[in-house]
């Protein structure tokens, strides 16, 4: 079984400041990790994914995340946020390759303050 914990339900941050959204996972097998973003009244969109290889993953809109196997973490970062980054962010894990059953965390609401 796999699970995802997002430690912060809400993160307020001033515009142009850096941000980190935290994610820890639990799984008995090798994992594949994802961050999705959900804007109000919309579905989810993939920000970035870790499948294998380099532990630093770059995604869309200037976001990046680092896979840390020893700490079972996959924190999302952005060096300078914009108002348009205000949204809810979900960390997700899959351990059934090819089946793509994805387990999501409870989400972190990022609120960018002008």
């Amino acid at each position: 079984a796999q699970s995802v914990t997002q430690l912060d339900s809400q993160v307020p941050v001033f515009e142009e400041a850096p941000v980190e959204l935290r994610c820890n996972y639990s799984s008995s097998v090798s994992v594949y990790l994802f961050w999705y973003v959900q804007y109000p009244n919309q579905g989810l969109q993939l920000l970035l994914k870790y499948l294998s290889g380099s532990t630093l993953v770059k995604g869309i809109n200037g976001f990046e995340a680092e896979f840390n196997k020893s700490q079972t973490s996959f924190h999302l970062r952005k060096p300078s946020v914009h108002i348009s980054d205000t949204a809810e962010y979900f960390c997700a894990v899959s351990d059934h390759w090819g089946y793509q059953k994805v387990t999501f965390g409870t989400g972190t609401k990022l609120q960018v303050i002008p």
Binding site: F34, G43, L44, L51, F90, W97, Q100, V102, G107
Partner: protein, 114 residues
């Protein structure tokens, strides 16, 4: 290139009724997964369909059932609706065997049970 489309976008039902939600996957995709997203929560996996069969199922009662058609579109049926079934129902499509791990989501069907 059409993305994932879901219908209806909003609907209101009363307790005990039945509901059918529909999903057309992204062009070229053959696998459909359904998720339930309650207010303030992350998406919860309901089940996944491939080759017109249910391949995986999450922790949902038998009141939740589905179907996949030869053109890969899918339906989610919920019988004997409860107040707790009020949620955003998300459909996600993917291509089995293409190891990207990415799900493409529709914008969801928001179900309100009164």
């Amino acid at each position: 290139d059409a993305g994932v489309t879901q219908s209806p976008t909003h609907l209101i039902k009363t307790r005990g009724q039945q509901v059918t939600l529909r999903c057309s996957p992204k062009s070229g995709h053959d696998t459909v997964s359904w998720y339930q997203q309650a207010l303030g929560q992350g998406p919860q996996f309901i089940f996944q369909y491939y080759e017109e069969e249910e391949r995986q199922r999450g922790n949902f009662p038998d009141r939740f059932s589905g179907h996949q058609f030869p053109n890969y579109s899918s339906e989610l049926n919920v019988n004997a609706l409860l107040l707790g079934d009020s949620a955003l129902y998300l459909c996600a499509s993917s291509l089995r065997g293409v190891n990207t791990g990415e799900l493409f989501f529709g914008e969801g069907s928001r179900l309100t049970v009164l």
